[in-house]
Symmetry: D3
Subunit: 212 residues, 6 copies
């Protein structure tokens, strides 16, 4: 009864501060139609629960390709709900014999959860060029520090699956071979900066779709 | 042959800059025997590949408890390799009927991967108190913004499992009911700040091990 | 005289670098008509001294309401001058018997200056659920760490006033009771995630304007 | 009864994860006996509620001095509870005719609440050297962007008091006159970098306790 | 041959993930036609190699002015490629007898490389007003902490040149004399906040183009 | 005279706040004898002007080696004054025909000033593997975004020299060839993650001092 009496008063309390606070930023779902900024995309005006969930990692990636592996990203470009939240995800499918070749994520550290199969993974420190390698089984996790070269490959006789999280909404993915061979960087330049010979460079350019 | 001749020269190049650069910080595995700092623990002097992998999430948590759920953390305290890397992990096991009660992570956003079962999850915005709720199936992911109240419960008829990543090495976990009832905060204070009645507060204090 | 002669030269010095540097960002007063970004609002083009001062905290908030208290914010939404500057403010008025109920600020720590009356304040740690409580008198200050549950209530026999600062321009305010009861989150869900009984949940939903 | 039965189970749940989580960093009260780090002091091992409150701003500073003003800081050095929390405070007392001379805070923006008297305050932008000045009365607030030159003086006929918050635990305070004249920087150097004449520099060095 | 066969498969791999990842933010060249944000300018849509190089520091600045020195900036306003990258540059030319007067950079630390001549440089700490001064020769570097007052002058008998880097894309430059005397801040205010006498203030206002 | 009278009063003002503020952190020169932390080294207790200057870049590096180039770092390990200041430096000497091979800096963007000779430099974006290449002459600057693969080589007929700044005190340097070939990572692993053939891998391991 007392409560019923107080209700109108309380509601006026509710209405005032909360309309005044309508600008509070709990989250900032990316409006991908706008230009990005150094801190992420501008926020979408109207948001629903669907913006915070993503189904694209439920399906296995297609591993019928040269590397017999697929990386399915849920970065801010695919999953705008992570914009500004300091986290994103990906799914890794690696067929028997498959590999995620040597690569870096320039903008975030990576945390890998193995859910199926056996994954051989490693990263290399910059200071001393020390390799840190592990054989990972379902349930194991491994962390790869930001910006360091690392790789994963299927070390078993069944397909491997891993879920991957990144400590940033847009970690990037730079695969060394693609950076070197899947573009028009002239072969002499590639040779100069890698010490690879001309035949090797030209062969890999041909395989990976590069020119020059 | 030319290469063989150049080898000593090159090695002197290798040795000089790399001994000079021995202090480069690619990572900073926590030395948990030291005091923490606002940016994380001091770095351990000697590191191996094992510091970057963790096996503690491979085993299901014990859900034989009141909430019929278990949160198994791989934060910096359990997995020192994530120190300074902006990421950490946890495993969530929820039996049929189980729940991870209303809680926040004060220091990081959360990203949940459902691997088994059905999870009903939601968070509540601060500005407008809007609930954002989803039913999640295996393969689905959902993001929970830093510091906002959220919950997960098993919405199906089989046990549910989720892997969880956080955008920080030490996200914290504040379960509202435990904060209110699992300590010696006097009942009149709890009642005053929650509008709950004395009987409810005392009952929950009794259930959750609090006093006062 | 010498100075007078040098004046034209100097002015050309002034004009060149300073027109070139017209883009220097000393501050970034929010243009609230634009979309927010994860780092704050885009900067307003034309700025005056008035953008850096705010008068809205000079007047006591209206405490004639259920909680007998009022929080008057000077966040970026009310005081656009703080955008990007890592600080904001609020005023707290608490009548005799009034309370700022259990709440968090997801995006900043809080620093409270008591200017009138007696305030009982406390926060609860996440790890061990330890309450940290103090009785504060005029001139006392207290700090509440980011994201942790806390409360303030008038512990005296006269009205209490506090000035509050936050270590961010948009700290957010999530009042636990409002998050649970002032919306349409279904009662069975609220009960599940809080262990409150149906009658308690329905009563509080009714008092706080919620449904479901 | 059901609850009573479940209690032991629940407590085991409580004990396991929470002892495991004893390292969670909700806060990091400074251990001032340790060396500082770029992110703040190492955390004190044992903490009480008293670490989060501070009484040093309750008393007026002594304004019987040349500037007829006193700045009483509650930075991390005086109030170790703010370490790592992105906020700190100070109290400003300005007698009639008193002034806080031209100064900067290199490491945080400032937010000033006037509680008594009239304060004339201003800051100067770097790009265009534009002054932004305001006359502030009790209840008014003003923000001073990080690193920019600013000042406050008593513009009325009664003592003025202000509470000040900073968006960092250790903002620093560099008073231009003290930086120039209250040390042993040789007068010719001071003259060269300020265009002041020798007599002016020597007089101010004498007044402010400098030499050379 | 095997490779040739696999090529179409691989290319489909290349095309899928990389079109999906077209939003990856490796860099964010400033679109200076947009409003700035607290984290920098929105990113330009179309980028070429020319956006990452800048020629404006190749030419000596004109030192025929009162201070016999020139600061040529390559901040984000001149060199949009540094937007969001945490670095920028400038060139310093100081004729014999020239000086870069007392100044601060509110938003970044500075690193100076001397390439020609002799530069006397110093900064002053805020806490104890301690001057830290050095005579620098070609090849020497010196670092000036963010926000602290510092200066450089030619200490030799030939022109001096330095290249300067800043740990931020938009460091700002606040020259104390220009902040005080090159605007319309009233002389009595300047005198009050600096303890300079009226004649000195008015003379410097006249020299530096100020009024009032 | 009035000033002389006020002097004792003022000095008491000086002494009080400045002893109280002895903890202000204007800078944090690294104490390299302590463990690093994620935010940098603990601060050295006693500091002189010499801590902020460094002479190690004044001398040309020795380019009599396989790559005909030398990178001389002034990172926090060599130049402890930059600790916590968000900037560091290096000197690059490249003989005719020399090259700084493909590499990344995992922890900072790079800004290169060419001071002598002609440098061909480039980086490769991660998203689209686009090369961004430039020929740089004395006075030119170029920026290389954090974590992206890049290279520099002498493109002229005289020795080349560049000064380099990094937007962090400890940027790291990971040379791809050294990461792959200058350690004991087994050849089959290297082949798997790079698509290089066994002969190439073994030859480069031999040249660069690796085994396995």
């Amino acid at each position: 009864m007392a409560n019923a009496m107080l209700l109108p008063v309380l509601l006026s309390f509710l209405i005032l501060p909360f309309s005044a606070m309508a600008l509070t930023q709990d989250f900032c779902v990316a409006d991908l139609s706008c230009s990005d900024t150094p801190a992420g995309y501008p926020c979408k005006a109207s948001v629903t629960a669907g913006d915070f969930a993503y189904h694209g990692l439920a399906t296995a990636g297609n591993t019928t390709n040269l590397i017999k592996a697929a990386v399915t990203p849920a970065f801010v470009g695919q999953f705008p709900g992570v914009n500004g939240l300091g986290i994103s995800a990906a799914r890794l499918d690696i067929a028997v014999g498959g590999v995620v070749p040597l690569h870096t994520h320039p903008a975030a550290s990576e945390l890998l959860f193995v859910t199926e199969g056996t994954i051989l993974a490693g990263f290399i420190s910059s200071g001393a060029n020390t390799p840190y390698t592990k054989t990972l089984y379902p349930g194991d996790i491994m962390v790869f520090p930001q910006g360091l070269l690392h790789y994963q490959y299927n070390g078993g006789s069944t397909p491997a699956v891993a879920l991957v999280a990144f400590g940033g909404p847009n970690p990037g993915l730079q695969i060394t071979d693609f950076a070197l061979f899947a573009n028009n960087l002239p072969s002499p330049v590639v040779e100069k900066v890698t010490f690879l010979d001309d035949a090797t460079v030209k062969k890999l350019k041909s395989v990976l779709g590069g020119s020059g």
